[in-house]
């Protein structure tokens, strides 16, 4: 069927801020959707609250709304735009939920708006447990038996019926806390008792256990003509029991015979046809490793993280094709964009092995619960392609950037055998490394299979890697073994460690021996058809397929997997840099390894190398492509960290030179510049020993801000109040040495702000200044940023502009950099300079209308700002106020403290824009799902030094009609100020008694907002931690900074005022 002509205007709903489980993959799918609809001639309306996305660029859709994805705002947009249809299946669960909400609110019927893609009834059938069960029974497709229970007796009775083992899943507990596998009635009684106690609604699901089954996924597509196909199947190396987002996954499946492959294919196609999905769908299946028995685990009736992975793994653009299907095209009418010669009615066939490996946040959340289960915990992922499994997984491991470029964490050598076994049985995020450690200790793969239920095939591959380590060690200089090792994904660095020869010498040996990588194309068809796709991966084989074009090229390094501190913002900047390079007439080449993102869409650049971002991998591409130079300013710390090694290897770093990058990042050198320029700076110094640190802190005076140098997102940064804390910090948080100095600064309590500047060396453009709502001490990435600044005097703004100009020129910045300032008593102090694009680039680009990464790239390529039409100095702000607010994923992570501090903790961001700051803040809060009712109860539990300030807030809450509750000390303080307050008892005070304590009150939903600040005692067991944890678990808005609380109060006040006025 040709495309529909009865609809003209289509709204696409995005997925909102990035949270764990809903990440950059939806920027990729949403962008593809908008472009695909446009390609078919439709007018597009896009709504998304996340400014750090390509999809919210003006070029992507005809009408872009960066507004909260809530009933209130989306309805408003619908009434204004009156689209004919909505495409809700490309914006993750958020998009789908929004569509369902709009539908039940009746607005779709009212405005005659049609939902494209998948009918709501199908979404219900896939997502409602009972409906899904019924459908599967009708289709004769097996699902694990399960039943919801509210008593232990019912649990035991049901388990008796279906047989052990069973899984207990308590309803609504954070990260599934309190659940577990039970092998008999005694275990079940114990676990179910606890689970029911923990569940806020005293309910748990008892489910037949299929833990240990192989977890297999099928990405399927269907069109309105009932054509259906499998784009890709994938096998999780980790068996059922670990969320697929947290599992290491290979594509295609590796250990299934064709009989099993076809059996599961039949089931998947049967389901997508029964659900009548028009578009893409993900089917997760569990396959018994010892029989043909299988179960359907779940069905996602939409484009998902797995479909983004499948798209990158095969080259088949699922979101794009799904969008075209949604407007009536059939698969046999749509050309396969990869080959250009075949049709989308095609099942890709791979001639390589893909490995996806999740990136976890536990380098930042060191106290977080690392045990993996059914709640996803990873923030991002890396993907690698190889011609064998070993190559594929080793490339994936070194793409992770977790401090090791081989499948080895040396510290694990110290772990006891018992601990090792324990970690194999109860997997954490780092089980892969425990596995190789076990193999190095001589464990047999059969034993490991017993402990982990991981298929022997994969364990043997890991064993092969360990065997190669030994072979290398035993045969120093042996070129045959070196060749084998390279074919199996070893880096020169790893070989250099085993051979005690410098890595560049090994590179020379390889060059002479012609052990050199080639690049193969990803073409969906295993070379059966000719393709023009510029999508490549490296391997050690005969034929190189990547033909170097005669045009001069520029290489852009991407930012790798998404982690806290390095999010989708950097992918945004990377994509824009590519656009500018192309406009400047160069061929733009991207290297990156994140399958979720737009930058790794092969249609974005002239050439995509899907590769790890280590010096060796980057040099290999450079050796082949011989680009004019490399741009490192947009790929976050990942790219910047490579600059020095690249320059040493003789590669031209475009823009700010490596020497100047170092001057900005090296504390001593930077201090010198600041002093020369006479720019105020918090007193500080660098320490390389503990003793030195103590002396410096004493000199500066407590409190001090302490952090390791060369940090990412404020890792391990803390405010310490006294010497004891300082010593604890040095002992626990960082290694202090000459190679790893720590920075100690005076902690200024002032207003923070930041700027991104673009400089051509002479002219310096400041697109805008962003004022932070939270005072210094809260990481800038976790602060609410307001543009333009609302409280700064002209004098302060002048100082900021002046310092920024001075710094950009002094640091010889060519391109972009970010500066953080603190304003205290009308004096502007410089905190730090990041000589690269920062996370605020997309936000600021959107609110100022300056495509900053593009302008910066043009400058990097030699243009001068005046030629580009920009004047030096501060760009004039418009009338609107724009707010960028952080979004957190605490509800997905257990034992992670939500208290804000100098360490970044947020995973995403939203933007709110309006004519007043209150309205803009309101939108930002709504978009980040921090909704406060007009009336209710606020609970204060406040540290002593904040009590005075908290009192002012409490009074304002009272003023608008909120009731105030507080814990003992706070309540007494408030009472003494004549504020009406209800005292609640703390946790310890009620131990053993029946009196309601603070946690009971939170659990009972008696408070609508919690405000909690605390002293430096961050003991996990402390009341404060428990209170925060419970507030998050129960979905109650929690504020740990009085400034944020003040901001939302302003919003409430402004609304309250309006109410009275009417």
């Amino acid at each position: 069927m040709p495309r529909r002509t009865d609809i003209h205007k289509i709204m696409v709903i995005g997925s909102g801020p990035i949270i764990i489980g809903q990440a950059a993959e939806f920027d990729y799918s949403g962008t593809q959707a908008c472009l695909a609809l446009r390609e078919e001639g439709y007018e597009t309306v896009l709504v998304n609250s996340n400014p750090a996305t390509i999809m919210t660029d003006k070029e992507i859709a005809d009408h872009v709304y960066i507004e909260p994805i809530t009933l209130e705002f989306v309805s408003r947009i619908l009434r204004k735009e009156l689209p004919d249809a909505i495409l809700p299946t490309l914006g993750g669960q958020q998009g789908l939920n929004m569509a369902m909400e709009l539908s039940s609110a009746g607005i779709l019927d009212e405005l005659h708006i049609e939902l494209l893609g998948t009918k709501l009834s199908a979404i219900d059938q896939a997502e409602d447990r009972e409906l899904f069960k019924n459908l599967m029974q009708k289709l004769n497709e097996p699902i694990p038996s399960s039943q919801s229970v509210t008593t232990v007796e019912a649990a035991v009775k049901f388990a008796g019926k279906i047989g052990y083992p069973v899984i207990v899943r308590p309803a609504f507990t954070m990260g599934g806390t309190g659940g577990g596998i039970c092998n008999n009635a005694a275990e079940l009684t114990e676990i179910a008792t606890n689970a029911l106690k923990l569940s806020p609604i005293t309910q748990a699901l008892i489910e037949q256990s299929i833990a240990g089954f192989k977890e297999i996924e099928y990405e399927v597509m269907r069109d309105a003509a009932d054509n259906a196909l499998v784009v890709c199947n994938m096998e999780n190396i980790d068996p059922v029991g670990i969320h697929t987002g947290d599992s290491i996954v290979t594509a295609p499946v590796q250990t299934l015979s064709d009989k099993e492959v076809q059996m599961l294919r039949d089931a998947s196609l049967k389901i997508i046809r029964a659900l009548k999905i028009e578009g893409g769908c993900n089917v997760q299946l569990a396959l018994d490793p010892d029989s043909f028995k299988y179960y359907i685990i779940e069905v996602n009736p939409r484009v998902s993280r797995s479909s983004a992975l499948a798209s990158k793994a095969t080259g088949y653009p699922i979101a794009k094709i799904a969008s075209k299907i949604a407007v009536g095209l059939t698969l046999d009418e749509i050309k396969n964009p990869i080959t250009g010669t075949t049709y989308a009615e095609f099942e890709p066939t791979l001639d390589y092995v893909v490995t996806k490996i999740p990136r976890f946040p536990f380098d930042k959340f060191t106290k977080g619960e690392r045990r993996l289960g059914t709640q996803m915990k990873a923030t991002g992922e890396a993907m690698a392609i190889g011609r064998n499994f070993e190559e594929s997984i080793l490339k994936a491991v070194r793409s992770l950037e977790i401090g090791t470029i081989h499948i080895e964490i040396p510290e694990l050598a110290k772990v006891s055998d018992d601990d090792l076994t324990e970690k194999l049985i109860h997997p954490q995020d780092d089980r892969l490394f425990y596995l190789t450690e076990a193999l190095r200790r001589g464990y047999k793969i059969d034993e490991l299979a017993e402990l982990t239920k991981i298929d022997l095939f994969f364990l043997d591959k890991l064993s092969h890697i360990v065997e190669l380590e030994i072979a290398l060690k035993d045969h120093k200089g042996d070129l045959d073994i070196l060749k084998t090792a390279k074919k199996n994904g070893f880096t020169d660095y790893e070989v250099s460690q085993l051979w005690h020869i410098p890595a560049d010498q090994i590179r020379e040996m390889r060059r002479e021996a012609k052990i050199w990588p080639v690049y193969k194309m990803v073409d969906t068809c295993a070379a059966e058809f000719e393709s023009q796709t510029p999508y490549y991966y490296s391997t050690f084989e005969d034929e190189n397929e990547s033909i170097v074009s005669p045009r001069p090229s520029v290489l852009v390094l991407g930012a790798g997997p998404i982690r806290i501190g390095q999010g989708v913002e950097f992918d945004y900047a990377t994509v824009h840099s590519v656009k500018a390079i192309q406009k400047a007439g160069y061929e733009a080449i991207i290297m990156n390894n994140n399958p979720e993102t737009v930058s790794t869409d092969f249609s974005v650049s002239d050439k995509l190398y899907f590769e790890p971002l280590t010096i060796e991998d980057v040099m290999n591409v450079i050796d082949l492509e011989k680009p004019v130079g490399v741009i490192v300013q947009f790929g976050g710390q990942t790219a910047i960290n490579l600059a020095e090694s690249l320059a040493k290897a003789g590669v031209k770093i475009l823009g700010t030179t490596v020497t100047d990058l170092n001057r900005a990042e090296d504390r001593e050198a930077f201090d010198q510049i600041i002093q020369q320029l006479k720019i105020p700076q918090p007193t500080g110094a660098t320490a390389t020993t503990k003793e030195e640190a103590v002396t410096i802190a004493k000199r500066i005076g407590y409190p001090v801000l302490i952090r390791p140098s060369y940090v990412l997102g404020g890792r391990a940064m803390e405010i310490v109040e006294n010497q004891t804390e300082l010593e604890t910090y040095i002992r626990d948080a960082v290694k202090v040495s000459h190679e790893h100095p720590v920075l100690i600064d005076r902690y200024l309590v002032g207003k923070e702000c930041e700027v991104d500047v673009i400089s051509d060396g002479e002219h310096v453009l400041l697109p805008g200044i962003m004022e932070h709502i939270e005072r210094a001490g809260v990481h800038s990435g976790d602060s609410i940023a307001v543009y333009p600044p609302q409280t700064f005097s002209e004098n302060v703004i002048q100082q900021i502009v002046h310092h920024a100009e001075q710094l950009a020129v002094a640091l010889n910045c060519i391109g972009i950099m970010n500066i953080q300032f603190i304003v205290q008593d009308e004096i502007v102090y410089v905190l730090e300079v990041n000589p690269r694009a920062s996370r605020t680039v997309p936000f600021l680009s959107k609110v100022t209308g300056i495509s900053m990464a593009q302008v910066a790239t043009q400058v990097i390529l030699g243009a001068k700002l005046p030629e580009l039409g920009y004047q030096a100095g501060l760009h004039k702000a418009g009338k609107m106020v724009h707010v960028k607010a952080p979004v957190f994923s605490f509800s997905k992570l257990n034992n992670v403290d939500s208290l804000l501090g100098p360490e970044m903790k947020s995973t995403g961001e939203v933007m709110g824009s309006d004519v007043t700051v209150e309205k803009a803040l309101y939108k930002a809060f709504e978009a980040s799902k921090l909704h406060l009712p007009d009336f209710g109860t606020v609970l204060f539990t406040i540290a002593d030094h904040d009590k005075k300030e908290a009192l002012a807030l409490a009074k304002r809450f009272r003023e608008i009609g909120y009731r105030v509750m507080a814990t003992k000390g706070t309540a007494e303080f408030f009472k003494s100020a004549k504020l009406r307050v209800n005292e609640v008892t703390k946790i310890k005070e009620t131990a053993g008694s029946k009196q309601q304590n603070i946690l009971d009150i939170i659990a009972a939903g008696q408070v609508q907002v919690v405000i909690n600040t605390m002293d430096q005692d961050r003991d996990v067991a402390s009341d404060g931690f428990q209170i925060r944890q419970d507030a998050i678990e129960h979905g109650i808005p929690l504020f740990t900074s009085l400034d944020t609380a003040g901001a939302i109060l302003r919003v409430l006040e402004s609304r309250s005022f309006t109410t009275k006025a009417l």
């Binding site: 054509n227 092995v353 043997d460």
Partner: protein
């Protein structure tokens, strides 16, 4: 042991030997299936051919007792990027290496199979050898090789044999029969008689079957002229269903022509459209020859199926007689089951024909 794969165009690929250590020659073809190597290797349609797998890891789940498509495979060699050193699957009985040794089929691993595939895609399938030394002598031998023309004769049963059941009487003509064709018919309770490729029409008619299935098989359909006579002798009298080589023979018997394709269709992601309904199935395919669409006499044959990507003829139906054929494998194995409904259509065709015969009688 270091071994070489050499091609008639002079290309040399260095690799490691596995399977049988013998020297081999044959026509080299590539297969794009990501699973199902056991079924592929044991498929007699690969008689005389050296099979290169485009998926790089082959042998991962070993060889099991269920998935054979013939008892004594006759392909000439197996070319892979990496032969699994450990096979893991609950049905696994022996490794690919052991199996190839048992069956005396040489294999070569460590090959840049993508380079090889591109070569075959651009130059077409060609003669190749797996040898110990890639010297002039080896190439001379290769160039001197004449590909056999009696492939069907080599793989067909020499004597008829039954596979009894209580349903319809179906004669299966074995041109290099895949066991899965029998499995599909057995699933439908057919009482089968498998007969040699050179069975005559009279011999079939004497058995008075409800239907005849013309099986798949290796090589050029023009090398089996005996079959054309037989088909012409039975069509119209007995319902006919042709698969793969059987399809090509059915076409030839009805005046159409076949040609050798550049590199054929070998894999199971080939989308095929049924013209009448628009229905698209993903099909398992293994053929190096195809029916020339221009040669079809529209008065007696109707094109029913085409391949979406290259438009090749994938299915035919006789305009007067109860007879149809498909180029692909509705029996799948390896590959998708999308087209297994064709066996049901064959059943229905036999029923309808029987009903009509009764009515006419």
């Amino acid at each position: 042991m270091k071994r070489y794969l050499i091609l008639a165009d002079g290309s040399i690929f260095e690799g490691e030997g596995f399977g049988a250590p013998t020297t081999t020659t044959g026509e080299i073809v590539f297969n794009t299936g990501m699973s199902g190597y056991q079924e592929t290797i044991t498929d007699q349609s690969y008689n005389g051919e050296i099979i290169a797998f485009t998926y790089p890891l082959i042998g991962n789940y070993g060889i099991n007792r269920d998935d054979y498509e013939s008892i004594a495979p006759t392909c000439k060699g197996v070319v892979v990027h990496e032969a699994a050193r450990l096979a893991s699957n609950w049905r696994n009985q022996l490794s690919l290496d052991e199996f190839l040794k048992q069956k005396k089929i040489p294999g070569i691993t460590g090959i840049d199979t993508r380079r090889l595939t591109k070569r075959l895609r651009t130059e077409g399938t060609m003669k190749a050898s797996i040898v110990d030394t890639a010297d002039e002598h080896a190439f001379d031998q290769l160039n001197a090789l004449v590909l056999p023309k009696n492939q069907v004769q080599q793989v067909s049963t020499t004597k008829p044999f039954p596979s009894p059941a209580t349903g319809k009487n179906v004669v299966v003509i074995d041109f290099g029969l895949k066991h899965s064709v029998l499995r599909e018919l057995s699933k439908r309770q057919c009482n089968l008689t498998v007969m040699p490729y050179n069975t005559t029409a009279e011999e079939i008619i004497q058995l008075a079957p409800d239907g005849v299935l013309l099986s798949n098989g290796p090589g050029d359909p023009k090398d089996v002229p005996e079959a054309l006579e037989m088909i012409r002798g039975i069509q119209g009298k007995i319902p006919l269903f042709g698969i793969c080589l059987g399809h090509q023979l059915f076409a030839l018997a009805n005046g159409a022509d076949t040609y050798k394709m550049k590199f054929g269709h070998r894999g199971f992601n080939h989308p095929v459209r049924e013209i009448a309904t628009g229905r698209i199935d993903f099909t398992s395919q293994n053929h190096g020859y195809a029916v020339d669409v221009h040669s079809i006499n529209k008065d007696n044959l109707l094109v029913t199926h085409i391949e979406i990507n290259d438009g090749t003829v994938e299915g035919l139906r006789h305009r007067q007689y109860p007879a149809f054929s498909v180029q692909f494998h509705p029996d799948a194995t390896p590959g998708p089951h999308d087209a297994d409904h064709l066996f049901d259509e064959f059943m229905e065709m036999m029923d309808a024909f029987a009903k009509r015969s009764r009515e006419n009688a």
